[in-house]
Symmetry: C2
Subunit: 195 residues, 2 copies
DNA sequence: CCAGGAATTCTAGCAGCGCTAGCACAACTG
DNA sequence: CAGTTGTGCTAGCGCTGCTAGAATTCCTGG
């Protein structure tokens, strides 16, 4: 019994070690530097050990993505709590979202850009992911107009944030005017829709 | 003289052949199927020939992206011309944009998602790219509020469209409600901004 | 028409990728 | 302490983008 639990604990610890190493490597040098060989060296085990914990590289990235979702959810919540009115709250959450994406680009990519081994738009999506979306929704819902579906409106606002972040990060949009674009986006969502 | 021009013509033809083959392969089987070996086989030359035309795979993708920009610009213009009022025009252009992205996902990825060997937010950006942006801008500008910078507003609306497209394509958003999300986005941009 | 030189294309290979079969060793059990 | 179980390693497969250098083709001048 005790031996069994010790082994399980050790396995869990090593699994966490893998995820942490992957995340740190990705944040330090980008996901293209995260190879299974490099990762194996980092945790001081051989390559095949990785595959006894995860189905493949995508599954490791998915684990990192889930961690990222939890952190983002927490940051969105903090920003939301600190803000006062409906509009200020949405602005604060939007700001917190894009700030997170810019501060932790590798994490953000795993969550929302790269192909990853995770269910998304289904009830089986990871809890952390649903929490992050719920935070966004809590900020969007109060500014929804009469007929607007709050879920769809949240998805649409989210898309706006995501577009800003990804176009900027891939060099399609200049970094400089980010704050002003974000204001424009939030401003148009807090206005009354005309149809 | 004649020999010289013939050679140049043949080179240009072969270059076009490469770009076309890359594009068709990408559209048929996705960019991950476009390997330099596969591409070389397709054009019935050996691999190194590719590198006598392009600096690398990214440069080939960039050439495909430029083609895509030209086509998108044309489609946006067509949609714009067919629409009547300011709001209808913006809606039509947004619709044309997302329709293009969904109909030609590989082309869209080369243009706006994948890392590619192109200058973007600078005056040296390819003409086709600038034309596509100009089409978007022509549709956005008429609905800009007093103080809004039309360029920034266009970038922001573009980000919204891009976010919708990429989140949907990567499975983060369900396909079903796309039209309604697009309406929400366009609706909020054609409304008066409240600040 | 043919030899020499220049340009072009190909063969072969490098270093690295994700992933895995099968062996060797370590750890636990009776 | 012997035997069995299971864990981790070595080695290697088939692929990637890319390139050095050999081989071949083509054009030019005699």
């Amino acid at each position: 019994m005790s031996i069994q639990t010790r082994k399980e604990r050790e396995r869990a610890e090593r699994e966490a070690l893998i995820v942490t190493a992957a995340r740190e490597l990705a944040e330090a040098e980008g996901w293209e530097a995260v190879t299974t060989r490099r990762l194996a060296a980092e945790i001081e085990y051989s390559q095949p050990v990785l595959y006894s914990h995860f189905k493949g590289k995508e599954a490791i990235m998915a684990a990192v993505a889930v961690q990222g979702c939890a952190e983002m959810a927490a940051e969105l919540r903090t920003a939301s709590r600190a803000a006062k009115g409906k509009r200020e709250t949405l602005a604060a959450v939007g700001e917190a979202y894009t700030a997170f994406a810019r501060r932790r680009p590798a994490l953000y990519d795993a969550m929302f850009t790269l192909r990853v081994d995770l269910p998304f738009a289904t009830p089986e999506a990871p809890a952390a992911l649903q929490e992050a979306f719920a935070e966004l929704r809590a900020a969007v819902e109060p500014i929804a107009a009469e007929g607007d579906d709050p879920g769809l409106l949240t998805e649409t606002y989210w898309a706006g944030l995501h577009g800003l972040v990804t176009l900027m990060r891939s060099g399609r949009l200049p970094e400089g005017a980010h704050e002003r674009r974000l204001e424009l986006l939030t401003g148009h969502f807090t206005a009354e829709a005309s149809r």
